[in-house]
């Protein structure tokens, strides 16, 4: 489950390029010449710490710089990697600089996704730093400043990392395991930090792109190929403006839109008929089911048999900073500043789009304004680069909020059908689980199920879809934990007792017990209060485990839930940065609450009906539950796992189960609604 290539396959969004630009003759010739070089430089080579030089630099002043292809989007790698290096080097966090996401400077650490920075990149940084520490010792140098001038180090830089250098065990940590603030916090609170949309280049112009009226429409004609106050760029389906201000560029695009003719596609699917559509278009032949025992026979012979269907809506990541890029050409060299989780892949996309060698492209990713799995692609980078090529000057392009809602990829919608049975001993005798469209993350059940069929069926997604925090595990965990509650009720058992009796995962058991004890589950599950109920859910994904107990209140008029209290327990091995971890768990709970309460992309006829925050209500201050408790179980003996995703998966099913306890009605859709 933790194979890097497998994670890549799940996380990278594979789709045809949005644009096919016409190569101009000069660039075409150059790309041919450069193409010969590609063989020699082997682009896309993965960083495996073969050389210390690639990972760690010691300045003559003794300051240490850590280099990584990971990026900072608020999830905390900057603090974590600095602390990891400081730990091994015997320095303070403030002695370390961290350079992230600049393809000209850093090793390719792959995409920043899949909770992989902690288990994948932190060990590489620690090993490089431990090597430098050993060099300091073996050289007999008194400081890194002295070492930086030592010839031994230069030699080691070139030869790569020696084997057999060990990192500090968790029991001896003095920096790791302690709370660390984000190193550039001060620049954030003063406005000094330059996010991608804040990058300023000499002579920079501003761009805006003409968008089709419906998804998939192609540009047939532009009636007015020029507009006042802005310059029009047309290249196949790409039509855009650049101007001295973003206001003028937007006005230019509005004028273009009035005279644009489009060839539109039919769009039979809508948010009204979505789940039928996903079922009807399911590709049965692409399923790779997990089969155990004989599920059909077990269903047929079981004493209690249940069947239910669950739905999860399309939702958007809606990061506060929309996609943005600044592109600059110098002769045939392209530099792009942009917010993406995948700098090396965006470099590749740019090289392809402009038929140039990757060595001619530099992608720089300043710490950017949120991603949540939604910025794995380079749309704005490519568009800005196309405009900059036409302008002959740097061009800034920032998507509007409506563009971000409409044209960014969404979290896949899910239809999940489950059939199951319990036997007389209250075991889960049969388990048949089918996910339509959304994916296979956390699709396996952690409960003992000797007779099971578990499968994911891809279908025809009417919306552009891709990664979202925790991928399909939000939908799969929702359906599984809600249906497990239904089985518990059928077995006449308390939901906690039923889970503990059937769980085959001791780590989940530990967080479930911790959350239930803190919440006072045993007493509170027996209480009845009008319109109020308690519920719980648990799960695992990406080598971490989570459990949540909640109390909700259901509005008797609207049927809408309100979260009154949550106790969530989380365990991800040895904790590296408890402050960062707590922030991730808090953020996950509340982001998951948004999908539970209200978030849903509404669409029909190839258009989004709610591409704005007033129609798509994300969580706000008022949604924060009055009581919110987070239990972090620190397993010092275990390898640290990532934590930015899994804590999101428990809140929605726990709330659905609490709504049942409050009303006696099952809630089987996200957002949660009594039907």
């Amino acid at each position: 489950m933790h194979d890097e290539l497998f994670e890549q396959e799940r996380y990278e969004l594979w789709e045809p390029a949005a644009y096919s630009f016409a190569p101009d003759r000069r660039q075409f010739l150059q790309s041919l010449a450069a193409g010969l070089l590609i063989v020699a430089v082997a682009p896309g080579q993965r960083a495996t710490n073969t050389s210390l030089e690639a990972r760690l630099h010691i300045g003559e002043d003794g300051r240490v710089t850590i280099l990584s292809g990971k990026v900072e989007e608020g999830q905390g790698p900057r603090a974590e990697l600095a602390a990891a290096a400081a730990e091994e080097l015997g320095l303070q966090v403030s002695d370390i600089d961290v350079v992230l996401g600049d393809t000209a400077l850093v090793p390719n650490d792959g995409i920043t996704a899949g909770s992989r920075t902690t288990p994948g990149t932190v060990p590489l940084v620690r090993r490089a730093a431990a090597t430098a520490r050993e060099l300091l010792r073996s050289a007999g140098a008194s400081s890194y400043k002295e070492l930086a001038k030592a010839p031994q180090l230069v030699k080691a830089y070139k030869e790569g990392l020696p084997e057999g250098i060990s990192v500090r065990p968790a029991g001896e940590w003095r920096v790791l395991g302690k709370p660390q603030a984000r190193p550039n916090s001060r620049d954030i609170v003063t406005g000094a930090h330059k996010f991608p949309s804040d990058v300023e280049r000499p002579g920079m112009l501003y761009g805006a792109v003409l968008r089709p009226p419906t998804w998939g429409a192609t540009l047939a004609a532009l009636k007015s190929p020029t507009v006042a106050g802005a310059t029009v760029v047309r290249d196949g389906d790409f039509a855009a403006c650049f101007a001295p201000t973003s206001f003028a560029a937007r006005k230019g695009v509005e004028a273009l839109a009035e005279g644009a003719e489009w060839k539109e596609k039919p769009h039979p699917a809508s948010s009204e008929n979505l789940y039928d559509h996903l079922r009807q278009t399911a590709q049965q032949d692409r399923a790779r089911p997990t089969i155990r025992g004989d599920v059909q026979a077990a269903l047929a012979s079981a004493s209690k048999r249940l069947k239910a269907a669950y739905r999860a809506a399309y939702i958007q990541h809606a990061p506060m900073e929309p996609r943005a890029a600044v592109a600059e050409w110098q002769d045939d060299q392209l530099t792009v500043w942009t917010g993406t989780s995948n700098p090396f892949a965006v470099r590749e996309q740019l090289a392809q789009a402009f038929s140039i060698a990757q060595s001619k492209v530099r992608v720089i990713v300043p710490d950017f304004g949120g991603g949540f799995g939604g910025k794995h692609t380079g749309e704005a980078a490519i568009e800005a680069a196309r405009l900059a090529r036409a302008a002959g000057k740097p061009v800034h392009l920032r998507w509007t909020r409506a563009e971000e809602f409409t044209w960014a990829y969404a979290r896949p919608a899910a239809l999940i059908e489950v059939e199951g049975a319990v036997d007389d001993q209250r075991n889960i005798a049969a388990w048949d689980f089918t996910n339509y469209n959304s994916g296979g993350s956390a699709i396996e059940t952690p409960y003992r199920t000797p007779n099971a069929r578990i499968r994911f069926l891809p279908g025809d997604s009417p919306l552009r879809q891709g990664s979202y925090r925790a991928l399909a595990s939000t939908a799969n965990n929702f359906a599984r934990e809600a249906f497990t509650d239904e089985l518990a009720a059928a077995a006449g058992m308390d939901p906690l007792e039923f889970r503990l009796a059937n769980l085959a995962n001791d780590r989940i058991r530990a967080v479930l017990v911790a959350a239930a004890e803190k919440f006072g589950w045993k007493e509170r599950a027996k209480q009845t209060r009008a319109n109020r109920g308690v519920g719980l859910a648990c799960g695992t994904e990406k080598n971490s485990v989570v459990a949540a107990c909640v109390e909700v209140e259901v509005d008797p008029k609207t049927g809408a839930p309100r979260l009154l209290e949550i106790v969530e327990a989380f365990e991800c091995g040895a904790i590296l940065n408890p402050a960062g971890l707590r922030a991730q768990v808090e953020g996950c709970i509340l982001m998951g609450l948004g999908a539970a309460l209200r978030e849903e992309l509404l669409f029909a006829g190839g258009r989004l009906k709610n591409p704005r925050f007033s129609g798509y209500r994300v969580p706000r201050f008022r949604d924060v539950p009055p009581k919110m408790e987070i239990l972090l179980l620190d397993q010092k003996g275990a390898e640290p796992a990532g934590a930015g995703e899994t804590p999101i998966i428990a809140v929605a099913p726990a709330m659905a189960n609490a709504m049942f306890q409050a009303t006696g009605k099952r809630v089987r859709s996200l957002p949660l609604r009594l039907v």
Binding site: R186, M320, F372, C588
Partner: protein
């Protein structure tokens, strides 16, 4: 192009521009004050908050003409003499930022709140900040930072 004069961060500013241009764009593109963020362009997320004569406004839907003759404070102008204001320090100390893109707006809203009400209740904090969106959902820490700033200032 019409000319507009106003104060930005205690200094006089003069811009020649279309009167309907959003104040946000003028601050960012003409005056290079990029600490003020675009979040939605419709006044619904408050990332673009600045103080106009001390009152928080959403600069993305405020035409530049509406700022003529007034005093604007952006996030760059909050700290005087390079020393962080208590509100800014509290956001740092409480770890009340993840990606940090909403932070300038949150800090300015908090500064305005504490000026009007130096010791707000939790309900008053939530009421003042509720329309300010944070997609990292760091709301509990932001509330903690507001409380810390209030207790520090008092």
């Amino acid at each position: 192009m019409p000319q507009f004069r106003f104060q930005v961060n205690r200094r006089a500013a003069v811009v020649d521009t279309s009167p309907e241009r959003p104040l946000l764009d003028v601050l960012r593109e003409d005056l290079k004050l990029t600490g003020t963020k675009y979040g939605c362009g419709e006044g619904q997320c408050r990332a673009c908050t600045v103080l106009l004569d001390g009152k928080p406004i959403v600069s993305c839907v405020t035409p530049v003409r509406a700022a003529a003759g007034k005093a604007i404070t952006t996030i760059e102008g909050l700290a005087e003499d390079a020393r962080l204001q208590p509100v800014q320090q509290a956001f740092v100390d409480e770890g009340a930022l993840q990606c940090g893109y909403c932070t300038p707006g949150m800090v300015l809203r908090t500064a305005a709140l504490l000026k009007a009400n130096p010791s707000p209740s939790e309900e008053q904090i939530v009421a003042a900040l509720d329309g300010s969106l944070c997609r990292c959902c760091g709301y509990p820490r932001i509330v903690a930072a507001v409380r810390a700033a209030a207790s520090r200032a008092s």
